[in-house]
Symmetry: C2
């Protein structure tokens, strides 16, 4: 149950085996169904998730009520509606498990206690946060500076498995292109 989280910690933090167990036991465990909604828009996000298997989607509704995918979170990564979880304010996004998923989760209070109880966590969380922030900026950059073909090629380079395993509708939405364009780009490979 904690294998991937332990691996994540060993890769990113100076901890001994005993501390690893104490750290991991702060997290609770659940399995989710395909398309299960874990957070509604307007609710304060109580948890940050760590994905053991499956995929979480964080998405919003645009001005016309159309779904717009902000992030896709796969195995071995943390994910949440970050502004809502961090500031404990109503969320502008849904969290949905787009595949049947196996996740660990921890409350806002317990998550913040990790910083007090495990001094090495501050450093490794800061490094992870930098990477998430960079991913978010690169997302904005790619939406602004790349055309459909370049965005598709970029995803093919960084996460080709995602294109295979998720529905075309979600991938097209994530890339900000139409399903027809995605289908055309796929057939050219």
């Amino acid at each position: 149950m904690y294998t991937l989280l332990k691996q994540f910690l060993i890769n990113n933090m100076k901890v001994d085996e005993g501390e690893l167990d104490v750290f991991c036991k702060r997290f609770r465990h659940k399995t989710t169904k395909r398309n299960e909604i874990l957070l509604q828009i307007g609710d304060v996000c109580p948890y940050i998730y760590f994905v053991n298997s499956g995929c979480l989607r964080i998405y919003m509704l645009d001005v016309n009520g159309k779904e717009s995918t902000r992030f896709l979170v796969t195995e071995g990564r943390f994910g949440t509606s970050f502004p809502s979880f961090t500031l404990q304010e109503p969320s502008l996004a849904y969290i949905q498990s787009i595949e049947p998923s196996d996740v660990l989760y921890i409350s806002h209070y317990d998550f913040n206690k990790l910083f007090d109880d495990f001094p090495g966590w501050e450093h490794s969380y800061r490094i992870g946060l930098q990477m998430d922030y960079i991913a978010s900026i690169k997302r904005i950059e790619s939406l602004i500076t790349m055309d459909a073909k370049q965005r598709y090629q970029s995803l093919m380079e960084t996460n080709p498995a995602l294109i295979q395993r998720l529905p075309s509708k979600i991938i097209a939405d994530y890339l900000g292109i139409s399903q027809e364009t995605l289908s055309r780009l796929k057939s050219k490979k």
Copy 2:
């Protein structure tokens, strides 16, 4: 020269007066002209800046070569081409001082040494990073979920001074709306 940076540190970090001076002296100082380019696209960003006065603009070129403003950094805030500075890779964005500005700056190497030499800095930088990451997500959210009028009203609530002091072209671009729409929204106030 270090007044604003010291205030920032006192607000965000446990430090005594002696440490504050040592910390601040790691930064160098310069003044910039209106529209001076501090970083070119394609160069590795060597510095992170702290703005004493004035305003830095981080902007990219879209697929049609049109300027697209990613961030505006005003007094008392840190700013850089974050992916390029953090990963020391070529930048996809320019940094420009859009007003005559007074800034402090520090190299990538010296910035990372701050984490070793000032243990409290890891915590306060993490908190600042969270706020920058949230600002970036809220930027994406507002571009997706709000129409022109809502985005303008949101900026009026969070940073009305910016609308007064910067050229309409920059504000319109930052909000992702046309100058005509911005002018119409301004006249309605």
